[in-house]
Every structure is written in C-alpha cells, then in structure tokens.
Amino acid sequence: MESSSYTLDFEKPLRDLSAQLEQLRQQSLENNLDLGSEIAAIERKIAATQRDIYSKLTPWQKVQIARHPKRPYALDYVALLCTGFRELHGDRQFNDDRALIGGTAFFNGEAVMIIAQQKGRDTKEKIARNFGMPQPEGYRKALRLMKLAEKFGLPVITFIDTPGAYPGIGSEERHVSEAIAVNLREMAMLGVPTISIVVGEGGSGGALGIGVTDRVLIFDNSYYSVISPEGCAAILWKDPAAAPKAAEALKLNADQLEKLGVVDEVIPEPFGGAHTAPEKAAESLKYALQKHLNDLKGLKGDKLLDARYERYRHLGVYEEAGTAHS
C-alpha cells in the first residue's frame, strides 16, 4: 500500500511510517546501501500498526472509511460483478439524474435490474453526479426501472451510497419527499425479488428510497443512519465537532445494524477497507448476492410480498402496557 493511500486523520501513524519506508528505499537506491534489515523492521512496524488501527476502528473512523475518496463506488462493483450492463436513462418526465442510475445487466449469467447511487471520482464527475445526492428525478427513474424489472420478471439489485437526498430548492419544488415516499410504498409491493447493498454511505431517507428490499446487505465499514453524525451532533449536542460521539450513539455501523435486525448480512471487507482491494470486496459480495438470490427464488407472489411486509412490520422497539416489544 503506497503512502498516499493513508489519507484519513487516524491513519497518520501509517502515513508517517510509509514516508519513512520510502525514504529508506530512496537512500538505499541512491547510495547503493543495503538497508534490508531496516526496511524489514519498518514493514513489520507498518503491519503491526495496521493491525492495531484497523482491528479496533471506532464508529466514527468507520464512517470515514465509508466516505473514503478511493472507496469503490457502485459502478466499480457493477463492473466487477456483472456483464453487459446497459444503463437506461431518465425518468421520462423531467430529467436524467446522474446521482441515481440504473439499467439491465447479467449477474452470473442471470438477467437483473441494477439500481445504483453513484458518486463521482474527480471534481468534474463529482459535480455531474451531484456528490451522490439524488434529486426527485432519480427516485422516479429508479421506480420506473423497478416496474420494468417487475414486468419482465427480473430480480432487482440496488446499490446504496449517498450522504442523503439533495436538500435544495429544485428538489423541494419537485417534491423529493413524494418521490421517496412513493418508492417506499411501491418497493414494498414489487412482485420480484429485491436485494439492496449499502456499499458506502446509507444516508437516511435518501438511502431508504431505494432500500425497501427483501434483503439488505451492508459492507463492514459502511454505515446506515437516520441522520449524519454531523447533523445529529449539531442538533442534539449543539456542536458539529461532537460527530464522533453522535456516530457512537446512533449505532449506525454494520455490526450494530445486524444486531438490531435492520440488515441481513454484513459483507467482510479487506483489511483497511474495501479500497485496499476492491476485487476481494466484490468477490465477497458476489458470493452473498448469489446466496440470497437463490433463497429468494423459492418465494413467489404473495409469499414473497408477505415475507417482505413482515420484515419491515416488525422493525422497531416499543413498550406496550409495560411489556417490551421488538
């Protein structure tokens, strides 16, 4: 791993060690010195520091990995998992949202409908993709493609990766709330198997708007939350700097979401995050996707819809006349 990979605050020790390592290598080359044992020592130290940092990541550190600029995005996974992806554009009403895309593809040879929130890699693409924040048109396109999938009997696979639906004037004027709400209702009634996978950020209603599925999978470092840690900190702690505390309190990490019954499976990531070895991450996802697709094939018609209804019907914890329910 080159030093430029360590871009996050908490990766500073690794950044420093990598710089030292590079310096030693440079010296060894320039002065024709044998620094083999020194280099090996630093490499061992790097490995130990990696273990130390990555094996006990805090909730807030995981959020930063989920937002890592090199994290694989939806289309990276589509390219690694599928063949013949044909993007289908537009909501047939107003626009084509570049932050929420979709199209047909083949997964292990089987036809599927892909729906994906997509962030941009460089500045130009980031702007074109609106930083992964979909507008009403994106949700309406997603619904159009899901209905298309239903018509032709294709399973739907959605990739969730958004900080949230776009909070702007145009978005409000064209009723992003309605676009999301209709998707929630219609996804609950869609007559084909559906699986979503949180590949990066699961930002509130903007994520849920393509996330009411038979199965919800999540990568180990991804998060899924009702509000961003910064937003929660600003409101409840009156201080955006309290984001690490809010991240912990919200229980937004993959393992915690699995315990709460909100996600069905946590997909392991390569050590240090999916960006260190995207192919490995994709391989783990491929295995899980196939397994869940196979499971869902056994459920048809009302059985599929009843199981989906029950899945969401029982989410939540409350008390009733003194007894706890969940």
Partner: protein, 287 residues
C-alpha cells in the same frame, strides 16, 4: 366510550396546556387580540383573520368526531430506549418530560370514530410531544391505525404534525417510514381511501413517507410542509429559501397538496371526500 364531556363540534373542551399562556392571545397576522376561551371554542383558529394556531391531538379529536363516537386504541404503546441513547440527557428522561408537558403518552393519538356518521380509523399527531418526531412507538401506532382500517374495511385519516424522524431511536426511526408506507400500500390495494391531512409543521421523514401518500392530500392554511428544513438547505447547498416556500399554499400551487382546508371546515370536507370515494353517493345532508 365517550372520552370527552362535550365533544360537540363548536364547543370543545381543551386542556389548559393546549392553549397559549395567559387569558388573551394576539393574532400574529392581524394583531387582533382574542379571548382564549373564544379561541379554544374556535379550534384555535382566529375568527377574523383565519390564522391557525397549532392544536393538540385531543382537542382536534374532540372537534372532529360525532359526539361520543371516538374510541381510543393502542394508548399503552409507548417509546422504549432501544439504543440506550444519551446526548445531553438520557432519552428516557426526555420522554418523561414530554409526557409531563403534553399530558400524552406518545406523539400520536389513534382510534376509530365517526365523522357525520362515516366510521374511520384515525391517527392524530401532536407536535408538543418531542416535536411530533416519529420513533418506533409512533410508527407502530400509525401502522396499526392503517391495519385497523384494512381489517374493518373503513377509510383511514392521518393528521400529521412532525419535525421528522426521532434521532434518539436511530435507524429504527428511519425504518418506520418503510413500515408505515408498506401498510399504506396494502390499504391502497384493498381500495380503501386514505386521506392525509398535513398540519403545521410536517417535515422530514414524515413528509417523505405517509404524509404525502394520501389518495387525497389536504393541508391546513399556512402550514409549513417540506422535506429538508430551511437551515439544512442553507448549510448544505448555500441556498436561501424564498419567502412563502414550503407553505401549504406553495405546495398546492406546485401540485403536491390537493386542497387547503380551514380547520373549521374539516368535518364537512372529510364527509364530502369520503362520501365520494368510499360511499360513492351524496351525503345525506348536502352542504
């Protein structure tokens, strides 16, 4: 079971907590000063200016249903603390305070009752309890109200008043959006009407789920209705909202709200809409 001593439309028994403090209240639009008793009797609508003050769930229910027909359901469903959430104070402490301040057990009151003889299942939110925020208990009660309509084959009406999702219940709050919307899908499939009444304010996850999914979406005059709040929009995308943005009137002009209805007209409004969609014949007493 009658919960109210005088639940007639025009004379409402309102708890002191439901009304502005003091004996008199000034209308923020006209400056008119109005005796509180008169304001309560008028469902918190200023007679001359038509300004709508917020109204508590119980006062709204008292003014909405035919005398003695409202039966409350699921009153013992209350919030738990699934995440053991603590910010400046533990979540259960906050809940106790909301209970004390509002005299309610949750941010929504549910049940069945008759409006001009038409039986409906209703959920009425109350902004005073945690800003009407939707957590597991609110989501559960609203889902049950929808399922009750389905079971009894009667229409469902939900009065929204909410700042959005309840952060202290984290992802469970978000999932209530899916739960309530899924239930509405079943109600819709069964051909039973769902009337959403959006009142001041209805924001965030409540707007982005059941509140805008009505077969008919009604809003009270002047109600603030939106997804992202003005501050979030300003902080995130540096846009300042034009005046009048996110009001009931704006949303009717922009096609989200079917009708804006004065609270004093709500009973007759619901009678006519439900007579058309559910009974499919003119009401006995034409307006």
């Amino acid at each position: 079971m009658s919960l109210f001593s005088k639940p007639k439309y025009s004379t409402v028994v309102v708890k002191k907590k439901d009304i502005p403090k003091g004996l008199w209240t000034k209308c923020p639009i006209s400056g008119e000063v109005i005796f509180n008793k008169e304001l309560e009797a008028n469902l918190m609508v200023v007679p001359k200016s038509g300004y709508h003050f917020p109204i508590g769930a119980r006062a709204r229910i008292a003014g909405l249903f035919d005398e003695g027909t409202f039966e409350e359901q699921d009153a013992t469903v209350r919030s738990a603390d699934p995440l053991q959430f603590v910010d400046s104070q533990p979540y259960p402490e906050r809940i106790k305070k909301y209970e004390r301040d509002s005299g309610l057990t949750e941010a929504v009151v549910c049940g069945t009752g008759k409006i001009h003889g038409i039986k409906v299942s209703v959920a009425v939110m109350d902004f005073r309890f945690c800003g009407g925020a939707m957590g597991s208990a609110v989501g559960e009660k609203i889902t049950r109200a929808i399922e009750r309509a389905l079971e009894l084959k009667i229409p469902c009406i939900i009065f929204s008043a909410s700042g959005g999702a309840r952060m202290q219940e984290g992802i469970f709050s978000l999932m209530q959006m899916a739960k309530t919307s899924a239930a509405l899908g079943r109600l819709s499939d069964a051909g039973l009407p769902y009337i959403s009444v959006l009142t001041h304010p209805t924001m965030g996850g409540v707007t982005a789920s059941f509140a805008v999914l009505g077969d008919v979406n009604i809003a009270e005059p002047g109600a603030l209705i939106g997804f992202a709040g003005a501050r979030v929009i300003k902080d995130t995308v540096k846009q300042t909202l034009p005046p009048g943005f996110q009001t009931a009137e704006f949303l009717q002009t922009h096609g989200l709200v079917d009708r804006i209805v004065n609270r004093l007209e709500m009973r007759d409004e619901l009678r006519d809409i439900l007579s058309a969609l559910h009974l499919r014949k003119a009401p006995a007493v034409a307006k």
